[in-house]
């Protein structure tokens, strides 16, 4: 060929056609395997909680779980958006109010695992739309240094958080994206005996001290740990995780009471691997999974009564006033309450 003489520029040696041709096919084939030994899930639990659980499940059942983590709001939005063509089989973990909301959207398939028989009523949906796998109370978490500097005790009442010392020093979750926030709001409602106006008045006052409403439930824990924030309201798992990482924080409970959220699991309607999904649900609702929580330093309270709460965790919870939130009522009013919160509290300034 004359090429070598007609072109003196350094030959780029790229076969453009080869490059294009050989890889074009790949992305159009969804990598998802349809074999019976794979399962797809959205996990609301963080990566480092979900992964050990999924690995344990795979070891026991031989089913490989592919999952991706979303915050509760994102996960719900995703599953709802995908209704016509579900991408996953199971929604794993996440506070109950997310699941009741999802129930209303009709995205779950009813399935009652055998372990459900052992669970108290609040840990399962009557129709089988979801089942609880853990319980997660809310706590107050504060930075030790901050308390010292401001001569404060760890807050023991909701009103303690209204202290001007906390101005611009509180971080807690944003109800638009996080179940933690919704649980928090419904706890406050419950404490005020569902007097919405009273509850919202309190929240408006609290707003004055809030530095940031975070996107995810645990988003504020690091700032509190670092001292960028003085304190916040989080699920106990996140609070204890912060402490485990070495940050110097205090955990306390308000005497008026604070709620907890059941962490649940559900089968997605139209799931492509329903049988595998059911196996995961069976396993998660049973002691088989929940006994793995403590060894993995995951500080959820097991929902299944057959599993004992780990000693250290139990000690922290001693004397705490954990109140019950009517999940059905919460589910039914979630949208309205959150919207009211956004309008009156978030956008208050």
């Amino acid at each position: 060929m004359i090429t070598s003489r007609t072109r003196r520029i350094a030959s780029h040696g790229l076969s453009r056609r080869g490059l294009l041709g050989s890889v074009l096919a790949t992305p159009f084939i969804a990598r998802r395997a349809f074999a019976a030994d794979t399962l797809n899930a959205y996990s609301i639990w963080p990566e480092n909680y979900a992964r050990p659980m999924m690995e344990a499940f795979e070891k026991e059942s031989g089913i490989h779980v592919k999952f991706i983590r979303f915050s509760s709001g994102e996960a719900l939005a995703r599953v709802t958006a995908e209704k016509a063509n579900p991408q996953v089989d199971v929604l794993f973990g996440g506070p109950v109010e997310t699941f009741t909301a999802g129930q209303a959207q009709g995205i779950f398939d009813n399935y009652v695992p055998p372990a459900a028989a052992d669970l108290p009523a609040r840990f399962k949906d009557k129709g089988g739309a979801w089942t609880a796998i853990a319980d997660d109370p809310l706590v107050f978490m504060t930075n030790t240094q901050f308390l010292k500097q401001n001569n404060l005790q760890a807050p023991a009442s909701w009103d303690d958080l209204l202290n001007p010392a906390y101005k611009n020093m509180l971080q807690m979750a944003d109800a638009r994206t996080s179940g933690t926030a919704v649980t928090r709001i419904f706890s406050i409602l419950q404490v005020h005996n569902r007097n919405e106006d009273e509850a919202f008045a309190y929240m408006k006052k609290l707003r004055q001290n809030v530095q940031l409403y975070t996107k995810s439930g645990g988003g504020g824990t690091l700032p509190v740990g670092l001292g960028q924030a003085g304190g916040g309201i989080f699920f106990i798992v996140d609070a204890l995780f912060t402490r485990q990482q070495g940050y110097d924080v205090q955990i306390s409970f308000p005497k008026e009471g604070i709620g907890s959220a059941a962490e649940c699991i559900a089968l997605i309607k139209g799931a492509k691997n329903p049988d595998a999904g059911k196996k995961l649900i069976d396993w998660a609702a049973s002691p088989a999974m929940q006994s793995q929580l403590a060894p993995n330093k995951i500080n959820f309270i097991p929902a299944n009564p057959k599993v004992e709460t780990e000693a250290g965790l139990a000690a922290i919870l001693k004397g705490a006033n954990i109140i019950e939130i009517d999940d059905a009522w919460a589910g039914a009013n979630r949208q309205r309450i959150v919207q009211r919160w956004v309008a009156e509290v978030l956008n208050a300034s």
Binding site: H12, V210, Y213, K215, G219, Q245
Partner: protein, 563 residues
């Protein structure tokens, strides 16, 4: 003048191959640009009874939305002004003072960093530096309770992130304006300041306007920085749209909010076309310094300028140093033991994300590069029905904020007949159609330097359109192809606002993992991922630039590639 100038279109007899390519392009554009947009608008502006403007009206009515809208505009304007200011400062310092080469190199590196970084890098560092117990505010300045969330921080972070765009746009312009005019003004007795004001500044005005618009658009679309730094007191539209969808599960509401963003985005786009218009791109020559006047800046002013630039550069480097440290210690802020654990984590648990991102980037690159070159050639050099319309449509996904595009894709491709959610194709398509316009622009700019007569010569010698394109034009616009490759690659590694809606079980991206890690308080892995991305991007783009230099036909100059 009767002579057909270098810019006229090829009006030759109909060419079946070209026709085919045009048709295919239109199909692709219809599918990946127009259809999602239509679906978005349809979903947003409808209720049970059909098409209606009611949701739009309601959205405009809502005070909080208007607030977010106003905030977005305010932020964008401020970022535009500040960013242009700093960009001009840097460009002027480099081009007009006698700064030594090493120093210029340092500036170049420092300004490149924000452009190739994954999102959140500046934001994280900001929080650490300026929070209530921030390193700078608390430890250095002794301030208690400094507030890092809000307009100021977001403004500062975005300015730092985007001013390099202004720098890159203004520098060749200042280089191109010869020192002759300034010298002439001096010789006429003007003071330096006067010369600067009346000559330099006024000649640069179109460049300043262009830079402002660039930055305005970038800030308008920025979803990541406000997500971290804007706090709750300063909501902005792209973040609100995102939260509306993912938080309130309100796809329609989010869609409507995105549409609100269309208005300023559109205005900016058309303004830009007016300002830049059909002007030739001022090319970046290797000998930009030749035109500088020895006299234009007094030594004292020179030193001051260099000092300011240096301060900014040091601050940028400081922010990235923080990032590096966070990736190398166990718990930033609590436990500063050095460790490689985070890197281990990203290469084990994070490996799928790394693999996915790289695969997608590597597939998207050649597609994006080729698409950019073909479209650029067609639009700049040939004539066909609807050419102007095609030019606009190809720019749509680029001009729109990423959130809109992401949401549109999510809505459009989750239903038959175009079921693409869960595949890599949807992500690749998003990247290709969103980031290729840079390649298109570069192609057009290069083509403007290549006279018509070269193609005509090929035709006169008997070559077909295809042969002319393949043997003559393509080699000559190879640099544009590589520029396109480069941009698609960088964006694939660092983009988030559109693709956060498009990840799935099967395909996830490093940037999304970074976001997740941050919200899960796994700061170490987030920082490690970020460092990894920066390193990879630097290596790949350096390699591409190398090849580029070899391939540029002697005598052709490359236009400055902007964002």
């Amino acid at each position: 003048m009767a002579t057909a100038g270098a810019w006229t279109r090829w009006r030759g007899a109909s060419d079946p191959l070209r026709l085919l390519v045009v048709v295919v392009l239109w199909l692709l554009l219809a599918l990946f640009v127009l259809y999602p947009l239509a679906e978005l608008i349809g979903r947003a502006l409808s209720d049970d009874s059909g098409f209606t403007l009611a949701p739009l009206v309601a959205a405009i009515d809502s005070k909080s939305n208007l607030r977010a809208f106003a905030n977005s505009l305010l932020l964008a304007t401020l970022v535009g002004v500040c960013g242009t200011f700093f960009g001009f400062l840097f460009a002027f310092t480099v081009e007009r003072t006698q700064a030594p080469r090493f120093w210029v190199g340092l500036l170049d590196v420092a300004t490149l960093l924000p452009l190739i970084s994954p999102p959140f890098t500046t934001s994280i560092a900001f929080v650490f530096s300026f929070g209530p117990r921030g390193f700078i505010t608390h430890d250095l300045l002794g301030m208690n309770n400094a507030s890092v969330y809000g307009l100021t921080s977001t403004l500062a972070a975005e300015t730092l992130t985007y001013f390099p765009l202004a720098y890159m746009a203004l520098r060749p312009m200042l280089a191109g304006i010869g020192g002759d005019l300034e010298e002439m003004a001096f010789s006429l007795g003007s003071s330096r300041w006067r010369v600067f004001r009346t000559v330099t500044l006024s000649l640069t005005v179109p460049g300043l306007a262009n830079a402002f618009l660039l930055l305005f658009a970038a800030s308008l679309a920025d979803f990541a920085t406000p997500l971290i730094l804007a706090g709750n007191d300063f909501p902005v539209l792209p973040t609100e749209a995102y939260l509306q969808i993912t938080g309130m599960f309100d796809l329609k509401g989010g869609a409507v909010l995105s549409l609100l963003l269309l208005v300023p985005a559109g205005v900016v786009y058309f303004l830009q076309r007016q300002v830049v218009g059909r002007r030739r791109y001022v090319t970046m020559t290797g000998k930009g310094r030749a035109g500088t006047s020895q006299n234009s800046v007094a030594p004292l002013a020179s030193a001051a300028l260099m000092g300011v630039c240096l301060a900014v550069v040091l601050f940028i480097l400081y922010l990235y140093a923080l990032l590096l440290i966070a990736s190398l210690v166990i718990s930033f802020g609590a436990n500063h033991t050095l460790t490689l654990a985070h890197y281990r984590v990203i290469f084990t648990e994070g490996l799928p994300a790394i693999e996915d991102t790289l695969i997608i980037a590597l597939i998207g690159m050649p597609i994006g590069g080729l698409y950019g070159v073909v479209v650029g050639y067609l639009v700049a050099r040939t004539e066909f029905v609807g050419r102007h319309a095609m030019e606009i449509v190809t720019m749509l996904n680029y001009a729109l904020p990423g959130t809109i595009v992401g949401i549109a894709y999510l809505i459009a491709f989750n239903q038959k007949p175009f079921l693409l959610t869960g595949t890599a194709a949807i992500i690749i398509a998003c990247y290709v159609f969103r980031y290729s316009p840079t390649g298109i622009r570069t192609t057009v700019a290069l083509l403007q330097q290549i006279d018509r007569s070269i193609e005509e010569a090929s035709f006169s010698l008997g070559a077909s359109s295809f042969m002319t394109f393949r043997r003559i034009m393509l080699p000559l616009i190879m640099p544009a192809f590589f520029a396109g490759l480069s941009v698609v690659f960088i964006r694939s590694m660092t983009a988030i606002s559109a693709t956060i809606f498009l990840v799935s079980i099967n395909w996830t991206l490093i940037t999304v993992r970074i976001l997740e890690n941050m919200t899960e308080l796994s700061l170490g892995p987030a920082a490690a991922f970020s460092v990894f991305v920066i390193v990879i991007v630097v290596i790949v783009t350096a390699a591409l630039n190398r090849v580029l230099r070899h391939l540029t036909a002697p005598g052709l100059r490359l236009p400055a590639v902007e964002g």
